[in-house]
Point group: C2
Chain length 405, copies 2
């Protein structure tokens, strides 16, 4: 495990750090000022979603994502790969528009860079009939209107350069953990060829920017993505290949079973160069964060804090509680008495439970603030424990209390 | 017209003022800090809604509305009368719970103290078969679960004292403007008897509080409500009767046709004592605000700024625009270039249009901030024009530009 600093044109990120997901150029239900004041250092937006709506060209025209969404801190975009495979079948088995898409069909449940396998039941990873994978790239359908699109590594670079984040990712194929060894190997080789093409296109575009002279904006940093499923030799092969290329950092991808994740991360991080940052894509369970950091991960992103918040599930140091439970209806204490977030400093569970029952919009804001604060500060505390060399004590104490509930 | 100051235990309100509606103990989609920073001076919550959910006893237990919802400024509650008549038939013609109530059935479209008639199509004002009006009070059904309830003037006072606002209203009957003269007269006489009972119960409860000694909290101010439909003699009779009682201020009630409102307000304000504040219930059209102030109104409340905002309709000095229109999709300017609200200082129409299309929660916050800022500041500017004796100039210039669109 390690503590460090990632420097970007929009500021530093002290690591380990939890990166807030802002799928469609907004951290759901929060103003950028709220995101900042809960302690968040960076935001990760989704390439697939923004390409479809409102379109990368429009975002570029407005001056890039930072200006578009009014976030002046460090920003990531993902490669679009994961969503293409999970959402890119047009939302359901139809080829035309879906008149009344369900929340899942609208992509609301799968809006992060990656997701833990347990959240993917019903996704189309295992039925990719409408997603066509070719050597050149991937053909998919919009989950919004069923229209057909084609992503290549070059296209992903173009979109991400248009969006203008500080840290972007190479285009990859995110395989199902149930895929066979043979398929994982085939996909991995393709992902490596796509990594080379992503890097070449990124360098070409960065050179063009620099040629634009001092008025041109900064080029983003490009992270390569390591894949390989649950197989040690594939994970190691992937890490070696990606590490040998001139990437600025690395993303660790894949849909993980709980057990696989720690291993995959360890195998890879023993190979990846120490002086470059490592981002674990789409992971956000409390135990997994400890596990990732213990095995050398620097940053994480995950939609679960805000998604859970909108369902009334609040993280506390004793585990999750659901504010819709009858017992909180008249509870005059905050979600957590010692919590210093805006929500806990100002509101009781009874008030939040009332707002949830009344479906009042404000509660999605208040609940999201608490859950994001929980994760951002958990990782900050872990950072402190690393610097103070008390990580294992902290981990043990934290997980003991957390699992008690 | 006049400019003044209303002093409450939670601060002063400079009048004329636009009071923000916070139906269910929240100004929809906004934190109290946002409400304050857009310049709002006070919030009006709804007695009927809070009685049903989460219940006035719970609010009392938490220390009252101010503490419950984290608003430390001046606060009003209405009498519950209007909602009992408009929502109190159980949401529809059923007597049991509604499993999937429509937004209208949930009361989302009728959540203010009063509404302009043009918003009331389909309301139950003209089909009160499930609302029983008796001399003692009104029997109605919850729009949430169809359960039966009975409001009396005493009950309204009890609920409002429990909620603990600074300014509360006497229980009244809000008649339909299509009601006959005979019915208006009958209802008015009943409202006057209810005013006496409201006042007696309010005084009894206030005396009990004072007897509680210096540790007891402040008693609210009680406003009597003037009714009388479109009839000059009834409006004048009502104003005389209510003015003769020891109320701290007055509410002007009724469902108005555009034309009726100016007259009703003028007739009444010529009779109501000059030294007490006058609140025009549920009125919020730009023209009506000028008309009300011109005829002696001090304060207004209306849900339309936030409700319109959630539908994408934004107020500008040239009239309303709808952000869902295709022309704004790539519009890189704010809603109004000269507007100083948080939303206009930080976001383009293109961004807001994107969020509306993506149904992102943040947009309901950003749009509501702009619309409330528009109204709060319109009334502030009117106040300034009164002090500078340029009201009629300001009105003419404003309405000329506003109607051009």
């Amino acid at each position: 495990m390690r503590a460090g600093v990632i420097s970007t044109p929009h500021g530093d990120i002290e690591t380990p750090a939890f990166i807030n997901v802002g799928t469609k150029a907004t951290v759901k239900a929060l103003t950028p000022e709220m995101v900042k004041s809960l302690g968040a250092q960076a935001v990760l937006a989704n390439t697939y979603h923004l390409y479809l709506q409102p379109g990368n060209e429009l975002v570029k025209k407005t001056g890039g994502l930072h200006k578009f969404m009014n976030w002046d801190g460090p920003m990531y975009t993902d490669s679009g790969g994961f969503q293409v495979f999970s959402l890119g079948s047009g939302g359901s088995k139809i080829s035309g528009p879906t008149p009344n898409p369900s929340p899942k069909e609208r992509g609301e449940n799968i809006d992060s860079g990656r997701l833990n396998l347990e959240h993917q039941k019903g996704s189309t990873l295992s039925s990719p009939s409408l997603v066509k994978i070719l050597e050149d790239g991937v053909e998919f359908r919009s989950h919004i209107d069923g229209s057909k699109h084609f992503f290549t590594p070059e296209k992903s670079m173009q979109i991400q350069h248009d969006l203008g984040a500080d840290i972007i990712f190479a285009f990859d194929e995110c395989t199902s953990p149930t895929a066979s060894y043979e398929y994982q190997k085939e996909a991995l080789d393709r992902t490596h060829r796509w990594a080379l093409r992503s890097l070449a296109e990124h360098n070409r575009r960065s050179d063009l920017r620099q040629a634009g002279g001092p008025t041109s904006d900064c080029s983003p940093a490009l992270f390569g993505i390591v894949q390989g499923g649950r197989y040690q030799d594939l994970r190691e092969e992937s890490a070696k290949q990606i590490a040998s290329l001139d990437f600025d950092g690395f993303g660790i991808g894949g849909s993980f079973d709980k057990e696989d994740m720690g291993n995959a991360v360890r195998w890879e991080n023993e190979i990846l160069p120490e002086n470059k940052p490592r981002h674990l894509l789409g992971i956000g369970a409390v135990e997994d964060i400890f596990l990732g950091i213990e095995n050398g991960v620097d940053t994480f992103d995950c939609v679960s804090p805000t998604r859970e918040a909108r369902n009334g599930a609040m993280y506390t140091k004793h585990g999750r509680i659901n504010l819709m439970n009858a017992q909180y209806r008249e509870d005059l204490t905050p979600i957590e008495s010692e919590c210093l977030c805006y929500t806990c400093r100002n509101y009781t569970k009874a008030y939040l439970a009332h707002l949830f029952r009344a479906q009042e919009l404000l509660v999605y804001t208040l609940a999201s603030i608490h859950n994001l604060y929980f994760f951002v500060n958990l990782v900050k505390n872990i950072r402190r424990s690393i610097l103070e060399e008390t990580f294992f004590d902290y981990k043990e104490r934290f997980l003991q209390a957390y699992q008690e509930a």
